[in-house]
């Protein structure tokens, strides 16, 4: 295997002045960087003089650093339905306030993800398919929709709506958008009426931040500019350099290195300002820690390298120090919070009945940090500044906390700290999740309760008769993924034989035989996706969706910035937008119910008459009032026209209508109001010192020596659904890497690049070893969703009973060496990935 040559080309064509131009936003992470798209027919290139190309840049001489350079990854050639070939160049937009012209490793390769008949992305799904024998055969949209809708109807009529299960994206950006999400919600909730719903890799349909919601605090409170203004930034379970890259590079780093001092002085006239400090709570010494130290000098970086599950103990102890030192915000707590919850919080969470030294000492032991570090963290978060003014601290948290020991209390402990120190709703402050993918959630209310029901278990128990998977790949990423795969395989096989026996027969007969199969424990599977995923292989109907760039879509980023991601090319073959797939099924179900003289059910599928993506966008908007009462994604008054005018900077939601014009919300809670009936925030108890491991986790920990932390990395987006087709990314991770401490590796005789096997009571999976001191002894870290080895196969079915959120990070396993992999060792770099100097 040669080392990647996506970059082996030594020239790129320049867009001519007449090239078509589109505004878009990166399809990948939450940051939502602005990009410009240029498209023009092959053979009509621009020239290097400034007036000869659409960027207006003089390329006759090499650009100075930080110029508007087009890397070879930013260009590709696509073929539209007119059979003409077009050059497409996608470059970061220097006019966008989010990224200021910077691309990350993922965004820089956006052009490589486009469908092209002569590159590996030709693997895109381009026709509706029906399972046939061992494979799939084209079926055509009308027949696919007819068959699928008849099966859904039969299931609902016989077993009730909950027998229709779904696992769907709820993303913004490439994986969804307001339009797709609204159509999906209308279909499953308003139409079918099922409660057996779940969100992408999760077993249930639920918020990941219920505790913040119960506290009345939004999931995304601050603006990115607050990271430029904060005195202290706190990152808990977030590897920002790698996974929220340009938020970190463009907004945090300049604060760490002092380049925002002038801006701080101007914003906070008369207040003491200095370069920011940063506290990073992470069991690994990540590239975020290394780059923060390079930017800020090590004395201003506090890395708390905690043991798994110790977040609650650590955060509560920090809170206790703050209480004891009287650094908490009396005014904020009195004016903005429900007083009795603060009283209860001091007892339940801060352990005021125990001596401070005991509390801090115990937390330090649990967390594997020193008491001095806990005191230092408290000081950096809340000690008054030199001029006695209140410190402005920005709190961020992500999967390390959300998918940690106990989802509800983990998030509660951090939100409580922000409330205790009054750090919400003011410039330079905030308490927000960092986010993974972008957000585009707008749906009718989920009909199920809380905690939401566990769909994976309903499938295993045979209660789901039709299972529809959209834009996600549970065979890789759900918990106990192998059990999911077995269920799809075995329950699917029963339906498969009914399909095979009735090939070529009228649809009524086929559906009758399928229903017989469902009675025998079968499950009919529909997969709606852009590639033939590991999950789609088991589907009886495969529905090809259009992707980012092939549809217009809208989404918000981590500071709630709403933009229009413009369509600039055709989808492959017969692929159509997700909203249109739902609409086709909705219309067909309505017709089938009308034929069946069931107007009541027919009327549940009334509104699938949208003609365009904007129709869906406007339809979903009706629920927003624009009077300050909307949820944070509320986009009252916004139209595609407005968004087209606002380009890559868009408008921050929720919008309020003032003089008939939508105005943005820069920070949520800046008006002092919280999302509770009283309008005051609530402290949510997070029992001290910590809840400890659940019995199932204890059993696994006792039996297996290595903690397998897992997650996303810099190079690789989600399950590599695109990146496995782009050599630059695929060759970085031809298989998942497993970070191991040198001492552990030496003991097991493992070298970087060796093939290793991880196994535990749930399953087994293989990886390539990567020896690094980024992890402590006994800790490892594995890339989470690689098709050739996914940690889902090791994750137990333990969930936080309060929220049905799994403890994805809570995996323990045994590791053994299988052998060397000479080709991988020759071509893949195993230099440390946490070095910045």
């Amino acid at each position: 295997m040669p080392v990647s040559r996506a970059s082996s080309v030594d020239s790129v064509p320049l867009p001519p002045p007449g090239a078509q131009r589109f505004d878009t936003v990166c399809q990948f992470c939450i940051v939502g960087c602005g990009y410009k798209v240029f498209k023009w027919p092959v053979g009509r290139d621009g020239s290097p003089e400034a007036q000869g190309n659409a960027l207006g840049v003089d390329y006759t001489r090499p650009l100075p650093p930080l110029g508007e350079w087009i890397s070879t990854a930013m260009h590709s050639v696509v073929t539209d339905k007119d059979a003409r070939r077009y050059n497409v160049v996608i470059v970061p937009d220097k006019g966008c306030v989010v990224n200021e012209g910077l691309a990350s490793v993922r965004g820089g390769g956006l052009a490589q993800t486009l469908f092209a008949p002569d590159r590996a992305t030709k693997a895109r799904l381009s026709q509706p398919l029906v399972a046939q024998g061992r494979g799939h055969a084209p079926i055509g949209w009308d027949a696919a929709v007819d068959l699928g809708a008849r099966v859904i109807k039969a299931v609902v009529d016989r077993w009730g709506p909950d027998a229709v299960g779904m696992k769907f994206f709820d993303h913004g950006g490439g994986g969804g958008g307001f339009e797709a999400n609204w159509a999906v919600g209308r279909f499953f909730f308003s139409g079918v009426g099922t409660r057996t719903a779940s969100i992408h890799n999760r077993p249930a349909y639920n918020s990941e931040v219920h505790a913040a919601g119960d506290a009345g605090v939004a999931a995304l409170t601050n603006a990115y500019v607050d990271a430029e203004l904060a005195d202290t930034i706190v990152l808990v379970g977030s590897n920002a350099y790698e996974t929220q890259t340009n938020y970190f590079l463009v907004h945090m780093v300049p604060n760490l290195n002092g380049s925002t001092l002038a801006r701080k002085r101007e914003t906070f006239a008369g207040e003491a300002v200095e370069p920011a400090r940063i506290i990073i709570v992470d069991p690994r010494r990540t590239m975020t820690v290394a780059t923060a130290e390079a930017a800020a000098t090590p004395e201003r970086v506090l890395h708390l390298q905690i043991e798994p599950g110790a977040d609650i103990a650590l955060l509560n102890a920090i809170g206790r120090v703050i209480l004891e030192r009287r650094w908490y915000d009396v005014g904020f707590i009195g004016d903005r919070t429900e007083g009795q919850t603060f009283e209860a919080y001091q007892r339940s969470t801060l352990a005021v009945d125990r001596p401070l030294a005991d509390v801090v000492g115990e937390a330090a032991r649990i967390a594997g940090v020193s008491p001095a570090q806990i005191h230092q963290a408290a000081e950096w978060i809340a000690a008054p500044k030199g001029d006695q003014s209140r410190r402005r601290t920005l709190f961020h948290y992500e999967k390390g906390l959300i998918w940690g020991l106990k989802n509800y209390e983990n998030v509660a402990a951090l939100v409580d700290l922000a409330l205790l120190t009054g750090n919400i709703g003011k410039p330079g402050t905030g308490c927000s999740r960092m986010g993974g993918h972008q957000e585009g959630y707008v749906r009718p209310v989920y009909p199920g309760g809380r905690p939401a029901l566990n769909v994976d278990e309903a499938i295993r128990r045979g209660e789901v008769k039709a299972f529809w998977v959209g834009g996600c790949n549970p065979v890789l990423t759900t918990l106990r993924a192998e059990a999911m795969e077995t269920a799809l395989k075995e329950r699917g096989a029963v339906v498969q034989s009914a399909l095979d026996r009735t090939a070529g027969r009228p649809v009524g007969e086929r559906v009758a035989r399928i229903v017989d199969a469902l009675k025998l424990g079968g499950m009919f599977v529909l997969a709606q996706d852009i590639y033939m995923t590991a999950t789609a292989h088991y589907a009886h109907l495969v529905l090809p969706a259009a992707q980012w760039g092939e549809v217009n879509l809208t989404s918000i980023n981590g500071e709630r910035r709403l933009r229009l991601y413009q369509r600039f090319m055709d989808p492959p073959g017969e692929a159509i937008p997700d909203w249109e797939i739902m609409a086709r099924f909705g219309r067909r179900l309505r017709a089938l119910y009308l034929e069946d003289n069931n107007p009541q059910m027919a009327n549940r599928f009334l509104d699938f008459t949208w003609k365009s993506d904007e129709d869906v966008f406007i339809h979903a908007r009706y629920q927003f009032k624009g009077d300050g009462s909307d949820p944070i994604e509320g986009y009252a008054g916004v139209t595609y026209d407005l968004l087209r005018r606002l380009g890559t900077n868009g408008i921050q939601t929720p919008t309020r209508i003032v003089n008939r014009v939508p105005v943005p919300t820069v920070r949520v809670h800046e008006d002092g109001r919280f999302f509770t009936p009283s309008g005051r925030a609530r402290f949510i108890p997070a029992p001290q010192p910590w809840p400890g491991y659940a019995a199932k986790v204890v059993a696994q920990r006792t039996q297996f020596p290595f903690w397998v932390n897992n997650g996303r990395t810099n190079h690789i987006w989600q399950t590599l659904y695109h990146h496995q087709h782009v050599p630059f990314y695929a060759e970085h991770n031809p298989m998942p890497h497993l970070e191991m401490h040198p001492a552990d590796a030496a003991r097991l005789g493992i070298a970087s690049g060796d093939l290793v096997e991880l196994s535990n009571d749930v399953g087994r999976v293989r990886a390539m070893a990567s020896i690094t001191d980024a992890v402590k002894r006994g800790h490892t870290f594995m890339l989470f969703g690689q098709p050739r080895g996914a940690t889902g196969d090791l994750v137990s079915d333990h969930v936080d009973p309060a929220t049905t959120i799994p403890y994805y990070k809570g995996v323990w396993a045994a590791i053994r060496r299988i052998g060397p992999q000479p080709e991988i060792q020759r071509t893949v770099s195993f230099l440390p990935q946490n070095v910045a100097r």
Binding site: P2, V3, S4, R5, A6, S7, S8, V9, D10, S11, V12, P13, L14, V42, G43, D45, P48, Y59, T60, R61, P62, L63, P64, P65, L66, G67, W69, S71, T72, A73, M74, V77, R85, L102, A103, S104, V105, G108, G109, T245, L249, M287, A290, T291, A294, N714, H715, F728, H732, R826, T827, V828, S829, L831, P832, Q833, N834, V835, A836, R837
Partner: protein
């Protein structure tokens, strides 16, 4: 045009002759004009000692590059042990100058901390560049180490030969 994929397929030894061969006609109409690279003698092989790091410019004087003698065979390397390699030193993220850190065995960019592995054809180790570091194709001719081509687009250019 010769891609680095071809280059690597041919192996890390038989470099001479590859670039000397006339460049293939562009396979697709969308490829811009194929650059023709000059021949540049960097240094006599015998003068390139262990740990050498020699700055030079290639393919023109505006394109800083660095020749490194590593401690082990490298992908695309020349010399007795295939341990001599050379790269453009303009970071393929945004063009800041990368520096070689011998103790780290990597090239590091100070701007946004992209790091590159000189033993693995300039592969991005971690960071925000969307291309690997362009590798200068080398050959040894009559005891002289010479630059004969570049695999990968150099930062700041739309074509390597401007």
């Amino acid at each position: 045009m010769p891609t680095r994929r071809d280059f690597l397929k041919l192996g890390s030894v038989g470099v001479a002759g590859l670039v000397a061969a006339p460049p293939a006609a562009p396979g697709a109409a969308d490829a811009a004009e194929t650059p023709r690279y000059p021949l540049l003698t960097i240094a006599p092989l015998k003068d390139i000692g262990a740990g050498a790091a020699i700055s030079f410019a290639y393919p023109d004087r505006h394109s800083p590059a660095m020749l490194l003698r590593l401690t082990a065979p490298a992908v695309g390397g020349v010399g007795p042990n295939q341990e001599i390699v050379a790269y453009s030193t303009l970071c393929t993220h945004k063009g800041c100058p990368v520096a070689f850190k011998p103790e780290r065995k990597m090239l590091i960019c100070p701007c946004h901390w992209s790091t590159f592995d000189p033993a693995k054809a300039g592969t991005l180790v971690i960071g925000q560049a969307s291309q690997h570091l362009p590798q200068i194709e080398l050959r040894v001719d009559n005891g002289l180490v010479q630059a004969v081509g570049v695999a990968g687009l150099i930062y700041g250019r739309h074509t390597n030969i401007v």
